[in-house]
Amino acid sequence: MIRLQREDFSVDEELKKIKNDKCGASVIFLGSVKSEMDGKKVMKMELDVYAEMAEKKLREIETDATKKYDIIESSIIHRYGELIVGNNIVLIIVKSIDRTKSFEACKYILERLKEEVPIFKKEYMEDNVFWHGGI
């Protein structure tokens, strides 16, 4: 399941949505806005997204991970809009029979998401505001 959304999510609720008793292993990655970056205070963050392309890329990543790691159920949720320190950003849940594959699949999805999915962060630091990517 893929979702891009402005609003927050509940990890418990999302786990319930993909409950499957065949799966002995559920691995969860929860990314949130951290309070410091490179030793400087983060005030807030803004996320822009190319929604149509991001959904397409996330579906490709989920399909590839499902085949590669025998995933039975998975969920990838990413927020956009304005977020403050402590807010949830991204949730990845992977459920499979094998715990090792679940851990590997979760890492695989996260690394590809960071590399390929067109979601863009603007950081509001205490002394600077910038888009990631060196511009």
């Binding site: 822009d48 991001a54 991204v90 960071k114 979601i119 863009f120 962060k121 990517g133």
Partner: protein
């Protein structure tokens, strides 16, 4: 031909638009489209522009067709 150009992140702010249609002669490449956009909006740091064509990442030497959708983005930084 008409190309739909979408702008994200830094480029949305810099141009002040989310998207626009740009008219070009047939047989042009993304590099030629980019030249028009860079001049129109006085963009700099051309090497940091990430491009997509019809929702797939591409280099700027790809030829365009009428109705194509091109996006200008910064590098992905989600997660």
């Amino acid at each position: 031909m008409r190309i739909l150009v979408k702008y994200f992140a830094f480029f949305k702010e810099k141009t002040g638009v989310n998207q626009e249609c740009i008219e070009m002669g047939n047989g042009k490449t993304i590099a030629e489209l980019l030249k028009i956009i860079i001049e129109k909006y006085n963009l700099q740091n051309k090497e940091n522009i990430v491009l997509s064509l019809n929702q797939e990442y591409v280099k700027d030497d790809v030829p365009l067709q009428d109705g194509d959708e091109v996006a200008l983005m910064t590098p992905s930084s989600g997660g």
